[in-house]
Symmetry: C2
Subunit: 215 residues, 2 copies
């Protein structure tokens, strides 16, 4: 049975696709248009009780959560560790990889989610908006610091952590453009030059542009 990815053209939705392309894994994509109410339908809730995307189905395994999917694909299809670190061979790098995946999911994608929700529900509270902008600054400051010391997030190679943050950064830029919010983010490239430099390299990685072009 072919591996099937249920996904949509969002930040989290595009993450696994980059790795699938890089590793050349035979796959099928079930692409939801976005936003969609389909993910709250019974047939999909059986795969993903949370009603979130993406979900990976690989034989018996049904796996939601984009960063868990990245880990699964790495453990299963990247046994040589071309794009990931393994616990047995590189424990220190492996745990940094795990840490960054959680940080990406909670602080980085979490802020991005609050940003999209704020706009989506037409909220209007200066304190909430300022807090979201400040959370972005906090995460970009941390990320810029790391990328000033290393070419990629963990160790000396491009890994699943770069995929998670890279796709997330793309989604942030996409959202900012779409909603005409440039004025809040226009100095990011000068304030966070290491992120800007890393992101340029990220876009050149095989499979990335194709995954980001997913509509």
């Amino acid at each position: 049975m072919t591996l099937t990815l249920y996904t949509a053209p969002t930040g989290n939705g595009r993450k696994p696709l980059v790795l699938i392309k890089l590793l050349n894994i035979p796959h099928e994509i079930h692409l939801f248009s976005w936003p969609t109410k389909e993910i709250k339908q019974d047939w999909y809730l059986k795969l993903n009780p949370q009603g979130l995307i993406p979900t990976l189905v690989d034989n018996e395994l049904i796996l939601p959560e984009s960063n868990a999917i990245l880990q699964y694909l790495a453990e299963t299809y990247d046994k040589q560790g071309k794009y990931s670190y393994k616990l047995q061979n590189n424990p220190l790098e492996y745990w940094q990889q795990q840490k960054w995946l959680f940080y990406q999911a909670t602080q980085f994608a979490g802020t991005l989610s609050r940003f999209h929700t704020y706009i989506g529900i037409k909220a209007n509270d200066e304190k909430v908006w300022e807090n979201i902008l400040q959370s972005f600054e906090n995460t970009y400051k941390v990320v810029d610091q790391v990328l000033g010391q290393n070419e990629w997030f963990v160790g000396d190679k491009f890994t699943i952590v770069d995929i998670a943050f890279g796709v997330g950064n793309h989604r942030r830029i996409e959202g900012v453009e779409r909603f005409g919010l440039d004025k809040y983010f226009q100095d990011y490239d000068t304030k966070y030059p290491n992120v800007a430099k890393w992101y340029k390299k990220f876009l050149e990685v095989e499979g990335v542009k194709e995954a980001l072009a997913l509509k």
Copy 2:
């Protein structure tokens, strides 16, 4: 060198402590009073550039992110898998375990974090508040469904996933009481009876009460 946990009496801060107690790991605790500005000081930012708690230091390893710490402690000190599933022996359960740890961090603890932030910054926007309450309902609905089918989250035993959700639920109850917000949550035990039942059992697990009593 003894393992050292830098932590505080919060939801995320108490998670690793439960497992440390259960596994009887020799340890030292550096306990911050909460809230504190100490975690933004240089000496701590060297351990945790994000300025978040908790951080685990175990010889060469410096590890932030509460759910990554749970995974690390399980892989390192619970090799028999008393409180965790291992990839080699139980791959399906292992990936469910990973999935739930991400779901707990993003959806469950993420909503709890928005709740505390909303109160902390004295926000005042009906739409944002309603969205936070709705997010709580969504996660509790999903969790109640799972706990209606299984005694614990994954497989047939109490695992690190139960620790993550259990401590998070305790933190939610603590916050609701502290801020006098009972009216928004008073029907939770009847609406989510499986959560209520599971949580009672959770509180009886060795080490849990001690970790939750951390002030």
